[in-house]
């Protein structure tokens, strides 16, 4: 019962993908433009990439961004995983519904509100705003994404594996590190990568919570664009897109492969 692609389907796909990717494609193409004018094509050149790596301001901003993203992803992964375990494991504890609702709220909360509320908090407790306030803010909003990813893995986790470890004389604490964590590790790693990319390209929350001396790459790009788009910015954005794309692809391939392995194991088990 094979269905050919109808004209309607083909048109829909082409239109949809054009809508999504044409702007990005244009940006990537113009980053290789030899001309100074962004809108006029004057032949292929990697000139702007060379220029980019001599722009100290942009490089500093990129370094700040990477450090923020790395610390954010690592801390958010630990906290998010702990949250996911609490939500899936400890049955009906007091306030479970409230807690699980609250962990999902930042997913749908407008970034402006998250950013503003964090700014007010930092002002109220009088912390010097800068690198660490951005990091704290990013941990807050990426943690719930990690939780969601890890939680979906834990739901299908066979509890009898942990029981078997306990039964064989392993303490609950050790069981988590030698049995549970290795098995859910792919989900934890994709959670980390998700948090990393979210932190990498955040502009709104970073703008609210930053202070002097801590400018992230998206903030630097945004401020430069206001003075006019240069092909240099196009080049910077192309690199950023490449990093995010690679990380997202790796994360989804890992999840997919894990799922396939699980299904294969189940098939083998069924076949006996």
């Amino acid at each position: 019962m094979r269905k050919g692609l109808s004209w309607f389907n083909v048109t829909s796909i082409v239109l949809g993908f054009t809508f999504l990717y044409l702007p990005i494609l244009l940006l990537v193409i113009y980053s290789f433009n030899a001309s100074r004018m962004v809108t006029v094509w004057a032949g292929f050149s990697t000139h702007w990439y060379v220029q980019l790596f001599q722009n100290q301001q942009l490089l500093d901003a990129a370094w700040v961004t990477l450090r923020v993203a790395f610390i954010t992803a690592s801390v958010a992964t630990v906290l998010g995983t702990l949250g996911a375990i609490a939500l899936t494991r400890y049955g009906r504890f007091y306030g479970r519904t409230l807690f699980s609702g609250m962990i999902y709220a930042p997913l749908v909360m407008p970034e402006v509100i998250t950013g503003l509320s964090l700014l007010l908090l930092f002002v109220a407790v009088d912390i010097d705003r800068g690198f660490w306030t951005i990091t704290l803010a990013h941990i807050t909003f990426t943690m719930c994404f990690v939780s969601v990813v890890v939680q979906s893995r834990l739901v299908t986790f066979d509890r009898s594996l942990e029981e078997a470890a306990l039964d064989l004389g392993c303490t609950p604490f050790k069981t988590f590190f030698v049995i549970t964590l290795p098995i859910i590790l792919p989900a934890v790693v994709s959670g980390w990568m998700l948090a990393f990319t979210l932190s990498l390209d955040d502009l709104v929350i970073a703008s609210f919570t930053t202070g002097p001396g801590a400018t992230t790459l998206p903030m630097r790009i945004y401020s430069q664009v206001r003075l006019g788009v240069t092909p240099e910015i196009n080049a910077a954005c192309t690199i950023l897109i490449a990093i995010v794309t690679v990380v997202v692809i790796v994360a989804s391939v890992m999840t997919k492969r894990q799922e396939m392995e699980r299904q294969k194991a189940e098939r083998l088990a069924a076949a006996g």
């Binding site: 029981e163 306990l166 039964d167 004389g169 392993c170 098995i183 083998l268």
Partner: protein
Amino acid sequence: MSTGVADKTQKTIGGIRRKFAPWTDPQATPLIRYQNVTKRFGEFVAIDNLSLDIYEREFFALLGPSGCGKTTLMRMLAGFEEPTSGQITLAGQDLVGTPPYKRQTNMMFQSYALFPHMSVWDNIAFGLRQDRMDKDAVANRVEEMLKLVKLSQFAKRKPHQLSGGQRQRVALARSLAKRPKVLLLDEPLGALDKKLREETQFELMDIQMELGMTFLIVTHDQEEAMTVADRIAVMNHGKLVQVSPPAVIYEQPASRYVAEFVGDVNILDAVIEAKVPGLVTLRAEAAPGMSFRVAQDCETQVGDTVALAFRPEKLRVELDPPADPTVNCLTGTIWDIGYLGDLSIYHVELANGQRIKAAKPNLTRMVERPITWEDKVYVSFAPDAGVVLKS
């Protein structure tokens, strides 16, 4: 000759099995004691004030429909559930409050619960390493276990590279490796196909004999329980209905529930007409004018309504009437025939419309059987074939 040696061991094992009955010895101290154990999950009573003794080296089966509490009873011994009230002791030690990782029991899980990220070897060694056993001792024990379950050449494989039957063996080896005082088996053969399951049942018995350990098995498969166990506890609604060796469960069921749960059975409502020690005479509405004699002692009084139960394989189905067609004989017409190869099951409809089943072994190779649909037949049985059940 090697076969001679094997025969000899077989005979010794048979000898041990024949004599093994510590539950009849009032001097024997049980290894496991459940005393007035109750377990509630919220409103639901999973185990209802249950007491049970299990002896050392016994192969004990918990049998019952799903939801009868058999798994809960086992999980309380492993430490995954705590009783709401009552006491559980293992070798004289009170277990209540002891976490699972400090108990001398090991469990083989229904899903096998093999650690997917570890090789077969590491799975089996896992429990030994928790005890900080030294490396050589671990290696020796693992090799020994692999040999026991005939998986030596698969030591390096991961669980997902094994077949269902092989995984089941790894799970068994892993739970046996620590030499627990009691091995708990939770529906251990449920995922295997019928042939493999039957083979494995006998292997389990041999291993239990060889290691001299106490096995507690949970199963809903009555054939499995009958094959492997020294004693069976039939459970229903969190209570023990009968605890007896398999032959007693099958031939002298304590109640209608046990008779119907274990094996096939025909039950006629009957009234006791007379009784002398060792013989009960009954009348049944389903067979007016007939008298039934059952060789058994019966506490019930003359005139009481009871259930007369008889197993299909203990009935004779014939076209000609037996010598005395008024005693232990029913008449009816063949309603349906189930041909199973080794047996044929005849469904006979009695005068009052009740249908009974009679099994007849197919002793000769014939395509046309003399008894066929809508034949009028006589179904008769010996006085020691039936059982009178009170409830």
